[in-house]
Symmetry: D2
Subunit: 332 residues, 4 copies
Amino acid sequence: MTNIGVVGYGYWGPNVVRNLAENKSCKITSICELNQEKWESIRKRYPWVNITNDYQDLINSPQIEAIVITTPVSTHYSLAKQALENKKHIFVEKPLTDSVESAQELVELAKCNACILFVDHTFEYSPAVIKIKEIIDSGQIGKIHCISSFRINLGPHRKDVSVISDLAPHDLSMFFYWLNEEPTQISAVGKGFFHEQIFDIAFITMKFPCGAIANINISWFSPIKSRRMTIIGSEKMIVYDDMASIEKVKVYDSGVATFREPESFGQFQLSYRAGDIFSPRLQRYEPLAQAVNHFLECVRFGKSPRTDGADALRVVRAVELAEESLRRNCSV
Amino acid sequence: MTNIGVVGYGYWGPNVVRNLAENKSCKITSICELNQEKWESIRKRYPWVNITNDYQDLINSPQIEAIVITTPVSTHYSLAKQALENKKHIFVEKPLTDSVESAQELVELAKCNACILFVDHTFEYSPAVIKIKEIIDSGQIGKIHCISSFRINLGPHRKDVSVISDLAPHDLSMFFYWLNEEPTQISAVGKGFFHEQIFDIAFITMKFPCGAIANINISWFSPIKSRRMTIIGSEKMIVYDDMASIEKVKVYDSGVATFREPESFGQFQLSYRAGDIFSPRLQRYEPLAQAVNHFLECVRFGKSPRTDGADALRVVRAVELAEESLRRNCSV
Amino acid sequence: MTNIGVVGYGYWGPNVVRNLAENKSCKITSICELNQEKWESIRKRYPWVNITNDYQDLINSPQIEAIVITTPVSTHYSLAKQALENKKHIFVEKPLTDSVESAQELVELAKCNACILFVDHTFEYSPAVIKIKEIIDSGQIGKIHCISSFRINLGPHRKDVSVISDLAPHDLSMFFYWLNEEPTQISAVGKGFFHEQIFDIAFITMKFPCGAIANINISWFSPIKSRRMTIIGSEKMIVYDDMASIEKVKVYDSGVATFREPESFGQFQLSYRAGDIFSPRLQRYEPLAQAVNHFLECVRFGKSPRTDGADALRVVRAVELAEESLRRNCSV
Amino acid sequence: MTNIGVVGYGYWGPNVVRNLAENKSCKITSICELNQEKWESIRKRYPWVNITNDYQDLINSPQIEAIVITTPVSTHYSLAKQALENKKHIFVEKPLTDSVESAQELVELAKCNACILFVDHTFEYSPAVIKIKEIIDSGQIGKIHCISSFRINLGPHRKDVSVISDLAPHDLSMFFYWLNEEPTQISAVGKGFFHEQIFDIAFITMKFPCGAIANINISWFSPIKSRRMTIIGSEKMIVYDDMASIEKVKVYDSGVATFREPESFGQFQLSYRAGDIFSPRLQRYEPLAQAVNHFLECVRFGKSPRTDGADALRVVRAVELAEESLRRNCSV
């Protein structure tokens, strides 16, 4: 039974806390939340938990073995650092931090202090995303040419971070998980409708060593909500629509056949194939429950988490590059 | 009754010919088509038409007043030039030509010879696109922040032109028609899956003088077909789904309200509004029939067409800039 | 602060309890649940609540003013009767009982004992259903010709009741609420796939005094889930798709115009009108929260609930008639 | 090369004529059409065809071997009878006639005169419908429990026939083709909005000897167009959505497993299975082209058509029974 302290009961915190509360291998000891208006709600649901507004209560508690950090990104570095220095395992909301430098420091520190550093890239624990990884690894879709992602909806606009820092880590962590590599080139265009430096909409393009190109279209200002990814392989194509209630993942056995025409001296010929469409049954569980459970297992058995520091770092690096490109493109 | 000659009965030609045949104010005199396998099909449907494989028959015919050019882009310049030099009015398939230079020369030539130069940007004659123009011009959607377009489907891959030259003119002509201006900045990333220089998929981003940004996502390699545009205004949002059978255009009365909060010294406050959704009834006609009819009217009454040389030039210019950017980005 | 006892923490009970717990004008005193495996879950979430397996604890408690009955239908009559005899107000899950006779007795009893009898026809508290009522009452859709409802999905099959008793009360209560009358004729066909008398799929047809016909298509055996109602009026048509995330209610300004052609001696002429489509913004709240709140208000202020005994009775009557028809049709 | 005469160039006639014109094994000799306003359109497209307003020209022509009857249902019997008496093969639009008696007479007559009697139940030639037949016959969906069909849209209202006679033959011919049997029981409810005896909307229910029940929901008064059929088998379920552009047929590997629980003395246990979804690639051709071709083959080689008199008769019989039930239910 691992004793857990949680810091931050704002937007995502209540979801993590609910999943921790339902997991039998841990106990939430304390929750640190500065906004006292939220205390009553915590007290009503989790009457056994200590509530505090002093983070020191968590990191100094000898009882608490692991700390869950679900606060705004800008505070991650400082809170995580203090926790690691006190030899607490940490579960940090994505993205790990807002700079490569600070993220690297945390990864180092976790290693030195033999602490688990888990970053909550929840999608990597989703049944659909794992199924797609299996399909890709099976080789059946062939060489990956292109991945596109649309993650657009109406609000909520964040005052403190751009849409890239807020939404793109989801797409980036999935891309890197599937392709198992980082991009060699990232560029982005975008626009902040209300504050010039806080982008509300952005288009990110990437190139990967394997030859794949990728596109992310993210927005807080779309009248329709869409969460759709398309993976174009040389043999098959996958569409992953996270808004679909049943057919979230579809594999299209259609594509383009290419063959070398003898008489045309090496010129390729193309022909389109329409094909069967297959939608695999997915397991049904809440990804966050799986993430929380994996974290707790890593803590108990000293395993390295799937979404560890290295996993988190490449996402932070890509966000940083995309935002640099965005600012460069905007000053033109 | 205007006598018409048509050159090119390949992919799009039969559609134009069908619309000409149904229009009572013109008569198709001759069709020039090099591929003699298509002659029987022409003969069966339009037994009164002369068929030839010599373009000179068309431009030298004193009877023919106007020539419809529905051949591959690479041939437009030469065919159009000869027609204009023989004082024939021309209807040219989009894009006008494959370079700004040649397009400009044709525009000049048409002017000197007092000929109508009509470019078939068919979408500008579509009920949905015209309705959106009316909505934008009425001011009800406010200032335009962003336009996105997805024009993706499976095939047909063209051997001779990139997806940009083939598909993007549709989006570009609509964007310029709606915004009534040209972009100040265009960049593009893409990939040719089979021939390095013939792009099969591309992401184009643009900035406009009015402050709007725009994104075009075009592909010949998508398992799902999508023809969707989204226009984000400061007051309302429009979604135009050309694949929808009934609700092609939807106006979302939702958005983001912004107000200046007195005590915070100029800081803006945002609040999201959900709202009614309205889908206007659209007229039902074939855009190409309308385009053909408009061309014939311009010929008869000496009017300047809506999709004239200037309209066509800005599209050719944008395609050229996008392709330059694409090649630059690819050589990185 | 009204003290509440709840009997039945099975399928729907936890939802009602959650809404009661979040309502500030009541307090859940006791929960009676026979299945002791559920006790821990209750204790964890609502540690202040007494848990019992003896219903007498609830009806004999002087403290408890109102009882929420969320048990299987077959037990409603007996539990409700005991509560009313002990002068407790009651909130009963739909349908009120499984026979008109027993339902009538409860309505009588509630009246005699001056108790509130509230039946949880939740849909009558839904923003979409209330908006549709407003639209109908405004007269804009004209005379109602026809209402259809599809309520189909995969499972859960109930062992004890037919799909009619389980699902149709939703449709029936909406139909009667909108039309404000009961049908004059009800017939049904159906099939029990596993037990001949427990129907898993049924088609119900009805005629109303106003001239409208209605159709309900309900099933536990559909691979796709659908919750769609269509209301055809002489002037406009409404589609209510409860599965839609945003445009749940759409009003189609299309229809059929009819006019009397003078020369044809009274023969009607028809012409179809395509028209605008309008999707009104709906309020966003959980219907059950609104139902619970309305019940508590009725208890506090002695008001008669919108979904009172009379409302419940007409639903029970229709279910009884449909099941009679079903058995008659099956024995043919 | 079979010489063909066509009678009726109204609503469906032009489609059949177009397919005949494109088929290389026949020649359209004459078209009989009473409405002379349509003659010019015929002349323009098919200049080699004789046009007449006298049906005798067709049946008396020694040259014409087969007659295509695409006129209103009420005229089928008389026109078909004359053709058969003159030993012409016939292709008749569905339904064959408007009464079982007259249909039987034609079937007899065709047999005596050794003429092909082909009824245009076009759907039986559609790639989707044939694929579903294959799936059913393979046994993989198990025993069929239920078939539902929705064939609803806005107009066109027919003055002369009810929605049952106009639309239901499509569903009925598919049901009978798939199940290979006729229903033992048919009932219907409906409503005529403008003429009491011409039903615009109807709900038909059926029972089949194999135990399956079926439901048809047809309407000319629906704001949304739907062409969806669902087949519920004991092992799998099929959804056929004819409006879908790609995934017209989907096979759901989900369902209900049933097993006999030993200790409960024969009581069945149920458990739901979610499963994979599979959408088979369909061939792409126009069903009517296939139907026309099959007819011409039958004429040439003296084969019995798949949609012969017997096929047509069971549809006419079902329509007659449904309309009788409708009138009976309406007079209540």
